[in-house]
Symmetry: C2
Subunit: 195 residues, 2 copies
DNA sequence: ATAAAAAGATTGATTAATCAATCACTTTTT
DNA sequence: AAAAAGTGATTGATTAATCAATCTTTTTAT
């Protein structure tokens, strides 16, 4: 049993090392040797866990998505008015992003080059579609009861998605930087939330 | 005289070929051979115009900034209320971006990896600072006369910058796609502009 | 319980492919 | 005919992936 546990930990260590390196340097400029060194394993070991550099990259981008999905689910399931739920969503997203910047940078790095990483980008697009499918009904509900200004809900969802994408790519400061507060404030404003 | 003209045109052709290739594939995965082929020149010719691949990349990112500066200047100099000027700015930016997507993708690609391209990123940061220095006074003026909701003007400028960054990276559709209208609408909303 | 043996994991030197940059030669312009 | 620009084959450096040797864990046999 010890072996299986060790291998899971080692795999996680490699991924953990790979994510910031890929986020900082992109796919090609990140070498497997550097990842191995950073993870504290031998060069060859990496290929016991991932069949290729591409495979490792894919895992580094896609596996953190699961955590995202759970956050999204919580928001959809949450109680409260659309106003409250959307506000919570914005806060939740931006706090999560500020604490997982490299994962997010990596995701949006791939979204910025979809033709280069078609398979991975397709998974991210699918996630984005799920995201819209979850947000649109909340917006619509808010528009019905007058909490949210009238507009195309899908257009608003796209705009919000672009906004959080841009924040992640632009914002390199640590989670305690006051700019994050500002980004939350204006993220809410997109939905017409001004308090 | 003919020679000088030809050389300028050839240089421009190389840059024109390089921009979308770098935007699609990033720095490392774009080969000089591909750029040369796309530009219709020989491999060696590229190095008559640019001392290295890095040099070509830098030119591809930075030279289009001049056009950006002119747009910015027009907005600052323009007559009208802050409301009118900011609305024009958003429209102007997003229309420009939709028509120069690859240039913009390339700029934001570099901003996403500032430690990898420190020199180029510094020039882009300098541009961003100029941008903020131009936008903040307009926002302040609008807040003074009540057209723009009260908030930290620099925080708002950052949020807008992140927004347009995100739109460029997210939005791959052609300029006539109706989503661009939506992005303009919600860009205006960030500034509290709702008409 | 202990030891031998089998299975599985770790490793980095080697290999083969890729690509930036050079440079000797050719073509075009002055 | 001199100068300048264009060119692509060659070169050297880099790096992903392999693999044979080594080490570690698990299983089996006594």
């Amino acid at each position: 049993m010890k072996r299986e546990q060790n291998m899971l930990e080692k795999r996680a260590k490699i991924l953990e090392a790979a994510i910031p390196l890929f986020a900082d340097n992109g796919f090609s400029a990140t070498t497997v040797a550097t990842i191995a060194k950073q993870a504290g394993v031998g060069f060859g070991t990496v290929f016991n866990y991932f069949v290729s550099k591409e495979d490792l990259f894919k895992a580094a981008v896609i596996e953190p998505l699961d955590e995202q999905r759970e956050i999204l689910k919580k928001i959809v399931m949450a109680q409260g008015t659309p106003h409250e739920r959307l506000k919570k969503m914005v806060i939740c997203h931006l706090q999560h992003f500020s604490n997982h910047r490299n994962q997010m940078r990596l995701m949006f790095y791939v979204l910025g080059q979809p033709e280069r990483f078609p398979e991975i980008a397709e998974e991210l697009f699918a996630f984005a579609r799920d995201f819209f499918a979850a947000v649109v009904p909340i917006v619509e509900e808010g528009q019905t009861n007058g909490e949210i200004p009238a507009c195309d809900p899908l257009g608003l969802s796209w705009s919000y998605f672009a906004y959080i994408n841009g924040v992640v790519m632009t914002m390199l400061d640590p989670p305690d930087d006051p700019k994050w507060e500002q980004f939350i404030l204006h993220g809410c404003r997109l939905f017409g939330i001004t308090d």
